[in-house]
Symmetry: C3
């Protein structure tokens, strides 16, 4: 019952997590995982008036298991709505779903 | 000294982390990483009597670097023991171990 | 605008996170993500005088999106400086950057 899928990873500022989740849900993804993280983007390098967030855990990483089409839709909409004004990156990885549980069972 | 391996990722409810860890250790994995996460599975979509856990961090993501055989054994046993009653998903990714440290040095 | 890159994942002890970050920045990576995690390495198996860290979140996972050359440089330097004395592992995964935001935009 294994099948191939994509994992979309969105790393951005915690301030916009609710908006990113709305985009994920609107795209039809059945589940996602939210990690509270620290880190540094180029804003952290450049800006004197924003603290380094390595310790502050002011960022989130949101992982979504999806089809490639849904992955690309989520990436495009998150970038269009937010990446002009917020630090962020979206990338995808290939995954093989070995055992879907309730997270992945379509209703 | 690089070599190929699999990363098994199990995302499920925090309630069962100890049981999942027992399965991982019994399968012979030499190390694992536990992330406290929020997120949403289809239970979160359906059920009115369970809170959304995006903020609650009621989920865990457990990553295990293993051979493909061990990865599949862990996935099968976690699903068999828990996924009828708990939200969860198990997937695998290809990884290349560049520098094994003590986490990966077999005893 | 998608392009291929590597994700370098370093899992080690929280004690050395600042030193690992210095290595990452010196290698020229433009951003990284730090996760506070629990887990177990072979020290956890062997040593009686070190607690299990599944609950203690005494470990970190640091993810860096980089070129393969930078990934290998980071892995080599982290191992050379720290993995004789600290638990750790470094592995890489293939990723496709769909939408680079400020995290990835070189200045």
């Amino acid at each position: 019952m294994a099948y191939k899928a994509k994992k979309v990873v969105i790393i951005t500022e915690k301030l916009i997590v609710d908006g990113v989740v709305k985009i994920i849900e609107a795209a039809g993804a059945t589940g996602y995982t939210v990690h509270s993280t620290g880190g540094k983007g180029s804003r952290g390098i450049r800006s004197e008036d924003r603290p380094r967030v390595v310790d502050a855990f002011a960022n989130v990483q949101i992982d979504v298991i999806a089809t490639e089409a849904v992955a690309r839709q989520i990436a495009q909409e998150v970038a269009a709505q937010y990446f002009a004004n917020y630090s962020g990156i979206t990338y995808v990885e290939d995954v093989e779903i070995l055992r879907p549980g309730k997270f992945e069972r379509p209703e």
